[in-house]
Symmetry: C2
Subunit: 478 residues, 2 copies
């Protein structure tokens, strides 16, 4: 790595190239090739998320990637939000089609007409289905690998409940699931914000979205979960017969963890000047064994390395017996973010021990062979905890408050981060004040902090100077 | 199930509906919704295949689903084969595109331009990359769920080698992998045929494809692996510098296990008049616990069932405590193909035992609780072996030989199956004879049996009556 992480945007581009995470040379603008080192981690992330969704009662299905244009007619806001950025299939099998088919930009309009067929009575509820798939959106903003591209890899969970309360409980569960996985396992801190009405998912009643912070102080949106209310169930006629025999519209929610983007969060949060730093639980190779040869001991050292490799079954281990120098190997595997390196040389063998080197803090420890497995488990746990705690500390240091536009602007200029401001309202009426914040501070109003009940007393909106009714957070965004 | 399996085609449609494996009501012709019970099994199949591919040195990547039309220019046969059945994106973001993008019908034209960038020297070879994805083809033949639809779920592995021998070894390894997984684990018997020249993959030198047999005696093509030779490497300029410093074209192969279609093979091979029969290794629910209540012992029985559930951690177990009768539950879970049912009633409890019922042969055995785990493991193994052996016996009974068109036709009419015939040639010159076989017997020439070296001596082609140079197999196909 030639670029320090303090120069984040360039560091990020550089690490995606040097660690061979993606290739931007595919000849279609906004589309990238996801390379093996990235895909191996993304597969682990998918599995962890899918297992947790299934533990919470969601079941997997697979809906078509193509959606007839007529399906988009139902929910007006949704149409306005997604039709303009869709990719459209208009020809197939050598013929013009009678109707255009959208490549799914998201699957409400593919799934909900089917939900209307499946749901009859209370016995069919709740309906909790997810799919792991790609979606396509013709983004006009600048694309950046993993962060924003015209094709991305995500999970979408779409649920129907009998009551408003059940739906709200699902939204809460979705947020807790994000905390459990993205923060606790992947080590990426974030906060959930209830987005202002002018910035919610097209067709939702309310949107709750997780914002994490990039090292340059700008936010990156991670999963969002949407309280759809009955907007879609009315548009798609999703009804059930209640206990009294009355027909009722279902209450819906949907949840979209974008795995390829969360991966960007992992890279950005943990990486350092030497390259990637991966949580032990996500690394494609968790342990690399590097032999330190002296003249004439190669065969012996190799044999020990192979024994070691066999003894570490259950972990993902690479024995690097290439012709490169140890120094080259150290740099290479550090750049790739392999969490643990084991070095074996003559002196180690004499002591019946090996050298264990952590990627996160680069500590070296000599470990007796008979304690190695235990040491690996402890070190793995310690690495994941350490990088998470360091990330938490950095994140918490970037939560600030401002009481004027000037102060807001100066914090954003200096440190970025999420800055709390007193604000008139997060209803549609507040949008013009948000536009001013954007204009004057290049900041986006991210909404009110989920779960925080503080309200301003005797404070004024920093824009219009009317009575402030709510604390909202502002950040510059990716 | 109201339809016996002897009426296979209707049985198949019926089971996909009754077991809720798919929904055909999606409003786009040739597209289906893959429902949870099917997707849960397909996910296991994906995982088994991916793990084996990775064990053999393939690494996962993800290429764009959209392919610019200009990428299709290189390999002429490939263009002829795939361009006519592609779906084309022509509009995006509200604008007409300057160039059409195909939804990948297969990914050679997406991947190989990148391979040309990645491969420089011997150190870059072999290159073995796979992706798990969907492909789209505007099929004109009648669609049938899982067997043929316009969107299907598959894995495609694309490889580049330095030598012809390495490529041929890969083709062999692909076939062995199919045997190891599809036959040994999924229990579906098949044979690999080297397809005649007129029926190979568009752009390949040779195609080796697995044919399994449906209960009605017609064949279903499972994975195929293709020796691409240097056809694509020349078209896409995939070159490496050899040890002498000379520039050489790579040797390529590709391999396409279509998971959604192999799933059809599993359904068709093992199912019976009562519904699905799933291998233990693929069942979404492996064990269902059915309580047998008597008046007033419900709480006690439920408690025992829950203890049992906890003791079977590691298996996928469902405790069916619904209000349905035991008989209803038996039928339902048999129809869904759950391999093992455990019944617990008062009498079982008194004996400290439970009743274990196998789905495959419906044998009931009383098993002491302290032997249950061991019994489950043995039973699981025995079920998978039993259904595989029964399938093998049926398959082998349908391998026949004919020495005249009349005999061929009569075997195909009566039993179907794979029928060996002496044939003039499997080069392009043989196509007109194959057309006659099609015309007169509704049979497709599937090619020569891989690995079989027998050649006809003093026999004549059953069509043109010229000297027979090869034994080929004929079958009616899906």
């Amino acid at each position: 790595m030639n670029i320090p992480k303090s120069n984040f945007s360039e560091w990020f581009n550089s690490i995606t190239k040097e660690a061979n995470l993606c290739d931007l040379r595919y000849n279609l603008k906004g589309f990238i090739v996801f390379m093996p080192w990235a895909v191996m981690t993304m597969k682990k992330m998918y599995r962890i998320y899918e297992e947790e969704l299934e533990a919470k009662g969601h079941v997997p299905a697979l809906f078509p990637a193509l959606i007839p244009e007529s399906n988009f007619q139902g929910e007006k806001e949704h149409v306005k939000g997604f039709v303009p950025e869709a990719f459209w299939v208009t020809e197939a099998g050598g013929n013009k089609l009678e109707e255009r088919y959208a490549l799914r930009p998201t699957s409400e309009t593919a799934m909900y007409p089917m939900y209307a067929l499946w749901i009859q009575g209370l016995k069919d509820l709740p309906l909790k289905i997810y799919q792991s798939c790609q979606v396509w959106r013709h983004e006009t903003k600048a694309t950046k690998p993993f962060i924003r591209s015209r094709e991305f890899h995500w999970i979408e969970a779409h649920n129907v409940f009998a009551t408003r309360e059940d739906a709200l409980a699902q939204v809460k569960e979705d947020m807790e699931m994000a905390e459990k996985i993205i923060h606790n396992v992947f080590g990426v801190p974030f906060l959930f914000f209830k987005r202002p009405q002018w910035d919610k998912f097209a067709g939702a009643e309310d949107t709750f979205a997780a914002d994490c912070l990039m090292p340059d102080g700008r936010v990156l949106q991670l999963p969002s979960t949407h309280m759809l209310g009955q907007n879609f169930s009315k548009a798609f006629n999703i009804k059930y017969t209640d206990a009294e025999g009355k027909s009722q519209y279902g209450w819906q929610t949907c949840y979209g963890p974008a795995i390829s983007r969360i991966y960007a969060g992992v890279i950005a949060t943990h990486g350092d000047d030497k390259g990637l730093v991966l949580p032990f639980s996500l690394a494609p190779i968790q342990i690399v064994i590097v032999p330190i040869y002296k003249a004439e001991n190669k065969a012996k050292i190799d044999e020990e390395c192979r024994k070691l490799l066999a003894s570490l079954a259950g972990f993902s281990v690479k024995f690097d017996d290439s012709d490169n120098t140890p120094g080259f190997k150290y740099n290479q595997w550090e750049m790739k973010g392999v969490p643990i390196r084991i070095e074996i040389g003559e002196r180690d063998l004499e002591k019946n021990s090996v050298m264990v080197v952590r990627r996160d803090n680069r500590e070296k420890t000599s470990v007796p062979l008979n304690k190695l497995k235990e040491s690996i488990l402890n070190t793995a746990h310690s690495i994941d905890a350490n990088i998470r705690e360091k990330a938490d500390a950095r994140f918490n240091g970037k939560l600030r408050a401002a009481s004027s536009m000037k102060e807001l602007n100066s914090i954003l200029d200096k440190d970025g981060g999420l800055v709390r401001i007193p604000f008139c309202t997060d209803s549609m009426d507040g949008e013009k004040c948000a536009d001013k914040v954007k204009e004057e501070c290049k900041g986006n109003v991210r909404g009110s902090l989920y779960g925080n009940k503080d309200v301003p007393k005797n404070e004024k909106c920093i824009v219009c100077e009317e009575k402030a009714n709510v604390y909202l957070y502002v950040a510059r965004q990716y």
